[in-house]
C-alpha cells in the first residue's frame, strides 16, 4: 500500500523542473569549484599535499549552501503541489493514513537529495580527473565529504517539510530555509546544538557525531512533524 502512495507522489512530480534541479545543484557546485581552480590552480595545489583532500575542501565552500537551498526548494514544492489547487482535501479523504502521506513526502525529498549527492560525487570525480588528480585516493573520504550534508541536514530538511506542509503560504518556509542556508557558514560562535549550522561543520573534529546525531534528531523531528500533521484539521 505504502509503495502505491510513493508511486503516486512520484507521478505528481512528472514534468516538474525539480528533476532538473537535481542536476543543476551539483553542476553549480562543480562549476564554481572549477572556476576556483582555473583562477588560482597553482596556489590551491600547494595548500594540501593530498590534492583530493584539497579539492573536497574547496568544494565545501559552496556545497552546504547549495544543498540547503535545494532541500528548502524541494520541501516547499512537495507541499505546494497539494496546496496549489487545494488537493489536500482530495488526497486526505482517500483511504490513506496521514502518516503514510507525510512519510511518502519525506522519503521523496530525502531520495531526491540523495540522488543529487550521488550526482555531485560523480561530478567531483570527473573534475578531479580533469584537473589531473587521477582517481580519488580514498573512496571513503569522497563519500564522507560528499554525503556529509545529506546526513547532517536531516533536521534542517525535516523542519522545512513540516513548515511547508503547515503553511499554505510557502514564502514562510522558504524565507526561513533561504535565510538559514545563506547565513550559517562562518557562524562558528553558535552553540553546537544549533542544528541549522551542522551541515556547515564538515571540517569539525566532531564531523561523524554531527552526521549520526543529524540522522537521529532528523528522524525525531520528522516524527514530531508527522504527529502534528496527523492531528491537524484540513481546511
Amino acid at each position: 500500500m505504502f509503495i502505491k502512495i510513493l508511486q503516486a507522489e512520484g507521478m505528481k512530480l512528472k514534468r516538474k523542473w525539480l528533476w532538473f534541479l537535481l542536476f543543476l545543484g551539483p553542476a553549480g557546485v562543480v562549476g564554481l569549484t572549477l572556476v576556483d581552480y582555473s583562477v588560482r590552480y597553482e596556489y590551491l595545489i600547494q595548500q594540501n599535499p593530498n590534492v583530493w583532500e584539497g579539492l573536497f575542501h574547496e568544494t565545501n565552500i559552496t556545497l552546504p549552501t547549495a544543498f540547503l537551498l535545494g532541500g528548502t526548494i524541494l520541501a516547499s514544492n512537495i507541499a505546494h503541489v497539494e496546496y496549489h489547487r487545494s488537493s489536500w482535501k482530495q488526497l486526505l479523504s482517500l483511504p490513506v493514513t496521514r502518516l503514510s502521506v507525510y512519510t511518502a513526502k519525506f522519503i521523496v525529498v530525502m531520495a531526491m537529495l540523495l540522488i543529487a549527492s550521488a550526482f555531485l560525487s560523480i561530478g567531483i570525480i570527473g573534475l578531479g580527473w580533469w584537473l589531473g588528480f587521477g582517481l580519488p585516493s580514498s573512496w571513503k573520504t569522497l563519500f564522507v565529504y560528499n554525503f556529509y550534508p545529506f546526513f547532517s541536514a536531516i533536521p534542517f530538511v525535516a523542519i522545512q517539510i513540516w513548515l511547508s506542509m503547515l503553511f499554505k503560504n510557502q514564502s514562510r518556509s522558504l524565507a526561513l530555509g533561504i535565510m538559514m542556508s545563506v547565513t550559517m557558514s562562518g557562524m562558528g560562535e553558535l552553540p553546537s546544538w544549533f542544528i541549522w549550522q551542522w551541515p556547515m561543520l564538515v571540517f569539525s573534529d566532531y564531523r561523524n557525531t554531527y552526521m549520526i546525531t543529524g540522522a537521529i534528531i532528523g528522524i525525531f523531528l520528522y516524527g514530531a512533524g508527522a504527529f502534528h500533521f496527523i492531528r491537524k484539521d484540513v481546511a
Binding site: 503516486a8 507521478m11 514534468r15 488537493s87 482535501k89 482530495q90 483511504p95 493514513t97 484539521d233 484540513v234
Partner: protein, 311 residues
Amino acid sequence: MEIVKTTQVTKVFKGVEAVSEVNLSIKEGEIYGFLGPNGAGKTTTIRMLLGLMKPTSGGIELFGERIINHRQHIRALKQIGSLVESPSYYAHLTARENLEVLRKILGVSRNRVDEVLDIVKLTKEANRPVKGFSLGMKQRLGIASALLGNPRLLILDEPTNGLDPAGIQEIRSLIKEMPRENGVTVLISSHLLYEIDHLATQVGIITKGKMLFNGSIESLRKKAKHQVAFTIGEVEKAKTILLTNGLVPTVNKNSLLLDYIDHEQVAHLVYQLVQENVSIYRIEEKIKSLEDIFLKLTSEENEHVHKNTAG
C-alpha cells in the same frame, strides 16, 4: 440501512460553534440535499464526515459503524467518493494522469479510468493538461475522481458552484442517474434550493450551524401550499367571522392569511364579510415557492440569533 448518521455533532473553531449539535440521517439509495446559505456549516459537516476535521463533540456513524478511530474512518473512506468545494487537481498533469494518481492509491483497475472519463464526457480531453480546462470541465473531472473508486456513498459539496446553467443541468442529470444505475447514495450540498429541488429525495436545511429542517422534499413542499390573503378594513371583526367559520387566519397588519381554501369557501366568506359591513380591499392568492420557505426558515433563524445577541 443508514449510510450516514451523525448524533449531536458539534465543531467549535476558536470558541465559535460552526456546527452545533447536527443530526443527519441518510438512508441507502437516497439523494440527500444538504441546504444552507454560505457559511452555514455545510462544508464543515462534510469535512467531519470525510475525516478531514475532528468533531469537537458528538458521534459519526458511516455504513452502520460508529467511527471512533482513524483506522475505522479509513475503512469507511474506501466506500466514499467525494468532491469538496473548489475543484482539486494537479494543474500540470493531464486529466488522465490526475485520475491515474488517484487510481494508484485506490487500487482500482486501469479500465475504470476510461469508464469514469466516459461518464463525465471527458474522454476527448483526457490527454490535455488540466490547467487549460474550463471550470465546468474541472468540476466534471472532480466528479470523475469521486466516482473512480466505485463508491457506495458519493459526497458532493457545492458541485455546481460557479457553473453556467448548461453545466448545472449536465451535472444534475449526471447525479440523478447515480442511485438508479448503481445504487449509490448521494449527499449533495448547495446554497441554492432550486438546484437540488428536482434532484433530492430528502432535504436537510442548516443555518448558523444548526439544523432547521430534516425530512422529505414532499414534506417541505407541503409547506409551500398556496395561501389566500384578505386585505380588509376591520381586522378584528373579520377575524371573528372567519373563526366562527372554523378557519384560523394569521394576522398580518391589515390582512388575514388563510391556508388554501376553494372558490366556494371564498365566495361564502366574502358574502359574510360584506353582510357584516367589513370593507374588503383586496383578495389575493399567495404562492409560496420552496425558495420562499427556504429563505423564511433561514432568515427566521438569523433574526432569532440577532435577538439573542442583542438581548
